[in-house]
Chain length 84, copies 2
Amino acid sequence: MNLIFKALNDPTRRAILDLLKEKDLMAGDIADHFEISKPSISHHLDLLKQAELVVALREGQFIKYSLNTTVMDELLKWLIKLKE
Amino acid sequence: MNLIFKALNDPTRRAILDLLKEKDLMAGDIADHFEISKPSISHHLDLLKQAELVVALREGQFIKYSLNTTVMDELLKWLIKLKE
DNA sequence: TAGATAATTAGATGTTTGTCTAATTATCTA
DNA sequence: TAGATAATTAGACAAACATCTAATTATCTA
């Protein structure tokens, strides 16, 4: 779960996930929501991708990012077990 | 939620939470479960305490740590909302 | 096929993090 | 009250991180 916790340990990356919850977005559209540079956003997207929290799919010139919540199941299970 | 994610973003700290799930423990007992130095464990406990994931209570010479799962509710809510 | 656009990769930099040893504080007990 | 034990705080250091600008790659279109 290291990669997931690492990915979630940043407010920008969590905000990206919140955006993608609403709908899939191109990398540029995501970047437009933040003050930081595009390469930085690209780096954040890479960490989210490493954690498999998002999936990237090229569509011609663009790359579409979408949320993948299945990897959260393990995390959720761990948290709930801790609460029991 | 910054402090919670920060606290959870370390395998040692997550292991400490798993230990405390079973029963309350003194700082020294916790340290005995790991290879790293006591001051390092103390630092980890401090971060967990800052996140309010654990509560510390002095009992004479010792300090007893116990799990506090209520702060996980917000986190759980966020995760579940993301999955909807 | 040349120029424009979308996005990533490379390389640099200041900050945060995890760890250590040494020093300090708090408590107990002979 | 002096010495021992439990735990933290202080200070240092290497590794990891977030960010930036510049360069590169991939694709589209006139």
